[in-house]
């Protein structure tokens, strides 16, 4: 493990560590642009220059010592880029000296001379590395007359998702390397040379892949903008919440960004064990599903005329509870692999404690609620649901649940009078939608908890409006067993409530008390009830999730 000294601090690092990585890890910020921890380092921006010295060696390859017995350090004649300099034993690095400052000033000036400085209308403003580095390491007046700037192409469509501003581009090649090294599908390149260099796609082709929005995140400036976010919102108004994407079993960690209760953007959140720095475009764009104007926001009951009519929560819950109570052995429930562990546990408890152990089933389906590209070996998995593993583990700890097919048959045969459904689209997601629809239509009392309308809500006698993923707290169990926590970024719309609140409301009306009400307490109780979750708590899960002891052997290698 080589030891080196940086700004007087001695650090020990793993062999092969680059100076910039070591510095950032230890809180020494060296300004940079082209360096990205997940990509190769071309050292092209030249921003991260530092002074480097190496111990002078005697002919016998031992360090030469001075009178005080300290190694004599020979400084290299030129500044070095810290992103490409590998730490070696005895190396001395200075990030603060006048020569370093001069180098940093020069590079920033060169980057800025042809930059349009259109920060007021730039989507990157507020989270721009150029702004931050200028503020931190330059603050000098421009020495170029605006008319002397080189004009390039301001609006270049790179495809349906990405717009390029070549004047803002600093040619750091992060986006090029993203395709070359991460998706392994080279898609961008630089044409021409020198001051006339420009980022381009192959003429006649466009960027229309599965991971394109990631280049907007890693663009250090506002050159690459997302059509979905461009000119919509100033980033400094956005409040950020750590959440989990629910559109496949990968469970990419993400940041949900909102202002005044409205979602504006979802961006990947670094988790080396799950998604690294990235997420897929479909998952990122899925917040539009939450914004859907057709959302269910009002409890409803089928009225005398046979149509669904608005009801108060009290009326709707009381009616549902009454039917569940009255139906005796003719009660059953459907949960789904889209629910949180806490919701599944509450549903299980409701049926065990208040409904005499009435049967519960869950569709074993990989169909989610949004179209997603096929599994690709990168981040997208074949199962487009966030919690199939959670269903399996909670069902197992509860004793076997009923098969979905059997339960639907029981409904069709009218052996089930009252059915409580907590699946976003039981008909559409089932292998035989016509049979499922027939089954639901055969039930006397169909109670559906859902955030969006579906074939099931159309048939329902009671609709209890639920929350979308960004609107609730809870945990999901990833395919490999890792338990990850997602937090509510915004409240549910209108009169909608979280599923946990709805289930607790039903429990109360049915006279059951689980001894907990919050998701945190629900999880603690689950961890006591289930061997699989044993030992875990919200505190242990933290921002990056936790692996139950039972799943340690399944964990894949780190992505970063």
């Amino acid at each position: 493990m080589p030891k080196f000294t940086i700004d007087g601090k001695t650090l020990e690092v793993a062999p092969g560590t680059r100076v910039l990585e070591a510095a950032l890890k230890h809180g020494i910020h060296i300004p940079h642009f082209c360096f990205h921890p997940a990509l190769s380092a071309p050292a092209n921006c030249r921003m991260c220059l530092v002074d480097v010295g190496l111990p002078k060696m005697k002919p016998d390859r031992t360090p030469e010592l001075d009178a005080a017995g300290k190694p004599v350090i020979a400084m290299l004649p030129k500044l070095q880029t810290s992103c490409s300099t590998v730490v070696s034993e005895g190396m001395v690095v200075d990030t603060q000296g006048p020569r370093v400052k001069q180098g940093q000033h020069s590079v920033l000036e060169f980057i800025l001379i042809n930059h349009p400085l259109d920060c007021p209308i730039c989507d990157k403003a507020g989270e721009c590395m150029l702004q931050d580095n200028y503020f931190g390491w330059s603050r000098e007046d421009s020495r170029i007359e605006p008319p002397d700037k080189i004009r390039k192409h301001k609006i270049v469509d790179l495809g349906p998702k990405i717009v390029l501003d070549t004047e803002r581009c600093i040619l750091c090649t992060r986006c090029i390397r993203f395709y070359d090294e991460v998706t392994k599908a080279p898609s961008l390149g630089i044409v021409n040379r020198g001051t006339f260099s420009e980022l381009q796609v192959m003429p006649g082709r466009e960027l229309n892949g599965t991971y394109d929005y990631n280049i907007v995140d890693i663009c250090p400036v506002g050159a690459l903008t997302s059509r979905d976010f461009r000119f919509r919102k100033r980033v400094w108004f956005l409040k950020k919440t750590a959440a989990i994407c629910t559109h496949c079993a990968t469970g990419c960690n993400m940041t949900v960004e909102e202002d005044e209760g409205r979602l504006w953007r979802q961006t990947p959140r670094l988790n080396p064990a799950v998604n690294g720095f990235w997420m897929c475009d479909a998952g990122r764009s899925a917040y539009h599903h939450t914004l859907d104007a057709r959302r269910l926001t009002q409890p409803m009951r089928r009225g005398a005329g046979g149509t669904l009519e608005p009801a108060s929560w009290n009326e709707a819950l009381a009616f549902a509870a009454q039917k569940l109570r009255e139906s005796g052995a003719g009660v059953a429930g459907f949960v789904s692999n889209r629910s949180t562990n806490e919701e599944l546990f509450a549903f299980e408890r409701l049926f065990a404690q208040a409904l005499r152990g009435a049967p519960v089933a869950s569709l074993e389906t990989e169909v989610g609620i949004l179209p997603l590209p096929p599994a690709d070996g990168l981040l997208i998995r074949p199962d487009h649901n966030p919690n199939s593993r959670g269903v399996r583990e909670i069902a197992a700890s509860a004793g076997a649940w009923t098969g979905a097919e059997d339960l639907l048959s029981a409904c069709a045969e009218k052996r089930i009078r009252t059915l409580l459904v907590m699946d976003p689209d039981l008909v559409g997601r089932s292998p035989n939608p016509a049979a499922a629809e027939h089954a639901l239509a055969s039930v006397e009392n169909l109670i559906v908890i859902a955030s969006h309308p579906s074939a099931a809500t159309a048939l329902a006698h009671v609709v209890l409006p639920g929350a979308a993923a960004q609107e609730k707290d809870g945990t999901y169990t990833r395919f490999d067993g890792r338990v990850q926590r997602s937090r509510a970024a915004i409240p549910p719309p209108g009169h909608a409530r979280t599923e946990l609140e709805i289930l607790l409301g039903l429990a109360k009306m049915l006279g059951a008390d689980f001894g907990w009400t919050s998701p945190r307490a629900a999880f603690t109780s689950l961890a006591q009830a289930s061997k699989f979750f044993a030992g875990l708590t919200y505190d242990l899960i933290g921002p990056l999730g936790a692996v139950p002891a039972a799943a340690v052997a399944e964990q894949p290698a780190s992505l970063v």
Partner: protein, 607 residues
Amino acid sequence: MPTAVASPPVVFSEAALAKFRVLLTHYPEKHRRAALIPTLRLAQREFGCVSNEVIEYVAGLLGLAPVQVHEVVGFYTLFHREPPGKYHLQVCTNVSCMLNGSQKIVDHVCRRLGIRPDQKTADGKFSLETVECLASCGTAPVMMVNDTYCENLTTDAVDRILDDPERAGELWIPNEANYIRRWKTEDTLIVTRRFNNPDPVSLALYERDGGNAAWRKVLEEMKPDEVTEVVKQSGLVGRGGAGFSAGLKWSFIDRKSKEPHYLTVNADEGEPGTFKDRYLMEQDPHMFLEGASICSYAIGAHTAYVYIRGEFGKAQEIVQKAIDARTAAGLLGKNILGSGFDLDIHVHTGAGAYICGEETGLLESLEGKRGQPRSKPPFPAVIGLFQGPTIINNVETLANVPDIIVKGAAWFASIGVPKNTGTRMLTVSGHVMKPGYYELPLGIPLRTLIYDVCGGLRPGRQLAAVIPGGASSGWLLPSEIDVPMDFNSLRAAGSMAGSGAVMVIDDSVCLLKVLLRIEEFFQDESCGQCTPCREGTGWLARVLHKIEHGEGTKADIDLAFSIANNMAGITICVLSDAAAMPMQAVIKKFRPVLEAHVEHRGCPQTH
């Protein structure tokens, strides 16, 4: 519905496919991409230009993403995205040609054809492009008509050529500068000794003149390390520009590496004012190929590439023929002369990019990429071409090697000055009576070179400045020309020996105009990867342009100096430093010239 004009499908003919398959054999199987630039050149000949369809086709042939081909095409100037005229005229406008009236040639062509640079005549017969140094500076001004060089141009010659472009090669009148110039007959000649022999490709003639003796001696009697040691002892330093000890460089080869070792011959001569390697290859290809063979043996390389500048069609042809002759004679190939040593040498052609003369830019280019220099370390001797240990040597450097082996290190070291031994080809252009290339012992004073060797200045003219080592070198004042022309002395004088290109400027031209032309050259040739060079070269050129055209202030002079200072020493390769050096030298030594432009609100000198 508009009916589309049926365009022929973009598919190689059988003949082109056969050539493509041969190209593929030149490179390791897992580095097929190396064939990209030669394949694109083949495609351009086949299809007339490199259109999007051609890019898609070539990408398919080599298993690349189209954008990877697109960015390579966009880097090299010899690729045409649209068909040029039947006769594509490229007029050099770099310093040596500029000093000899290239602007008049450009203007004349424009007038005659009614087009401007980068345009094509309506009938599609001619297209015109102004280009950077074509390595024909002793015979400036020069123009290429397709692949044919036309030198010593006058407007009369241009008229003759435009009237009958098919015969362009015969219609200009060569002057004596095309013949080897020797100053004193008793001087030792090494690399130019066999110039003007009737058949440069002939192996029989080469051997009659003592050729291949060194190659045989090495294979029969010497161990690889002994060869390196002799070269080290000879004091031979690289003739490409940096002046680093050739033998020492060879000794750095990473012998522990499991990857194949390579020699790459740098024949990408492009430093403005330099025109030695082109002639070395055309006049005596065997001598440097023998040197390359010896070097390959010393470093354990079984494959060598000669990376020849794209414009040098004639040199490519001659070197290929010489390689074929050597292979046929058993001097290359398997088990050479029964020694058990194998070596193949391949010609690899560039496609128009000055930066590919930088050794790691050259390696990137050879691997089929944009010629962007690599960060060092690792140095090529450790990780070079195709990840293998690689030595890159200039043509002239290698041409010296056979004589060093035959006549010994001490003989070579006795020529020149201590630490800078041997002879050197100096290529003199600009305002001297006898421009041309001269092989002279290292260390000859610049004054002697200009006034005795090259016949001095034109009558009635005063010396204004000398650029002693190519466009990248710092300029010298007339008072500084007693400096000896070796690497160390020129370095001590604050300039550099560089590529041995001496450009002499008299008082008939505006020095700022010359400097601006140089900075425009660096602006055009910066690869664009490092910020300071990409942005600095352009900014410098724009500031100088303002001063030259009367829009500058004294503050702009200081600004230019500051830009140059800020560009130096902080980039991956030294192109940025090369752009800074002339600027710094001019401001230090010729500041009054710039100030006069500010005071006169324009160029005070009309000519």
